[in-house]
Subunit: 318 residues, 2 copies
């Protein structure tokens, strides 16, 4: 029984050409190779190891359904473009994910899927100097790691150190790309542990709300759901768009805009979204926030059963 | 003949207790294991791979002499502290480096040494959840990758996006730690290639000089050598301290301070320092800069023959 599936991808196909019909003709074994997740499976001179020089996506596979997969793959392509990497082949990645899901066999209904792509072997090393730049790709589906919870969490706000206009002025900061360089994100979570809060929401030096270290943030004011415009230098949230799709279906309104952190603190309700889940926030910077467990259950059910899927594909900042 | 030596370290010893005598009694095989550098040697769920969550140091081993090793290991310990990682055992790391050097056998006199440490297997994954947090350590010595040059280079200045007071206010940004999350540093080098310059020097949003993506910067005004104070949120340069030691030995003066980027542009001479080398900069933001090849050769010779070693250990910001 495979509770943890680890597939090494063929970078030449996954970042190669070909339309859906071409990709459908590729034998499984030329797309991914299943390997022992407990073994040694990466070379030490890979740029993921040495530099965190790569990109990734993560979501939940709920009862065999990879939540928001198209939006995740679109964001992977966006990250690749921001990182000057080649464009992923969407059909090939979709098939590779399907093969990983087919190899999974565990009673857990919601394992975590992660797609990891590095720039390949480091050409500045002896081992990598003959590299043609083919990305290293691997995909895993894991029932045995930390899985998502929908218990309410507490949150503190912290500065990200950047002004809100930096992304257009300094694209080399890679704001908006989901890179493998997550040491900062990990450090914020350690700071949360020190402060005794569940997670953090980051803000710019001039006081605008950004995102959480590995989540998006949505505030609700009456029947209006608001999230920061990604142009401030944050990710375009995938689960956040599923939540927006739910809100519209329920007759509420949605808005992308620059959201002062002071205004976030006055929200009626606050939602943290990631990996196919919407999680209620019941405290921000010491102020208690109301939440409705039935509403949270309904939102997650709508996302997990695919009810919000099609609408989420059409939602985004203007 | 080993032109590329790759040693997997024993994290329990390298981050364990014991003084120099205890460490001297550890059998070689319990300290490091030499592995095939071309093979698979890292698990995909290591935090170096998934999160860039670790630290590193790099220097040149010149004719068997690891340049600035103590200062590199001290900085590794400083990075570990900033990252809430355990403290490295200096004696154990020194012996491990010696074992790697002993296994090297190539005519190249100046291979690159790199020490890589991650936080270990990711405890949020099924493969890593039983991890006791023992760091993953590997060390390589590479004669076949890109080696250092002392040809003069051109340079452009770019914003780092942060204000100069951010480090004391937001330690979770990890400024001053040499982490494995180098996607930004790699992106700056791609931006340099786009602009047709050799490297970049970063500055704060309020206009103070910081460092280069993988180097320190030293400006010379008459007989005064100036480098930015590391408290601005940059690394404490190792080769930069060797250069300062050389300057003092030659009767010049040194200074750590906040250095406006506008003032850097008016320097008499400019030096980029990294990995045991001092490299002349012959152009900054389009302004040509004078340099003296004989001086550069003399500085590097002093560093590589150990003449500056002892003094460099005592130099630093006050």
């Amino acid at each position: 029984m495979a509770s943890i599936v680890l597939a090494m991808g063929n970078g030449k196909v996954l970042f190669g050409g070909g339309d859906a019909a071409d990709i459908a003709a590729v034998p499984d074994r030329d797309l991914v190779t299943m390997v022992d997740p407990e073994g040694l499976n990466i070379n030490a001179f890979d740029l993921s190891v040495l530099r965190g020089d790569g990109i990734f996506e993560a979501t939940t596979v709920w009862k065999g359904y990879p939540i928001s997969l198209e939006n995740h793959l679109r964001r992977l392509a966006h990250s690749a473009a921001l990182m000057d990497m080649p464009a992923p082949n969407m059909a090939a990645f979709t098939r590779a994910v399907d093969l990983v899901i087919a190899a999974y066999d565990d009673p857990e209904p919601g394992p975590l899927l992660r797609i990891i792509v590095s720039r390949g072997l480091d050409p500045d090393t002896g081992v990598g100097k003959a590299s043609d730049g083919t990305p290293t790709v691997f995909i895993f589906l894991d029932a045995k790691g930390s899985l998502h919870e929908i218990d309410p969490i507490t949150m503190a706000s912290m500065t990200r150190g950047y002004p809100s206009d930096i992304t257009s002025r300094a694209p080399w900061l890679l704001n908006g790309a989901k890179t493998l360089s997550y040491a900062f994100n990990c450090a914020v979570h350690r700071e949360c542990a020190r402060r005794g809060v569940g997670d953090a929401v980051l803000f710019t030096e001039d006081g605008f709300t950004m995102e959480c270290p590995n989540s998006s943030i949505v505030a609700r004011y009456g029947d209006l759901f608001v999230t920061p415009d990604p142009s401030i230098g944050i990710l375009n949230g995938t689960s956040q768009r599923e939540l927006f799709a739910w809100a519209i279906q329920e007759g509420s309104r949605i808005e992308y805009r620059k959201l002062p952190i002071a205004e976030l603190r006055e929200t009626d309700r606050l939602y943290m979204t990631h990996g196919g889940w919407v999680i209620p926030v019941n405290e921000l910077d010491g102020r208690a926030l109301d939440y409705d467990p039935a509403e949270i259950a309904a939102i997650n059910d709508a996302i997990h059963t695919g009810r919000t899927h099609d609408d989420a594909l059409t939602i985004g900042p203007r």
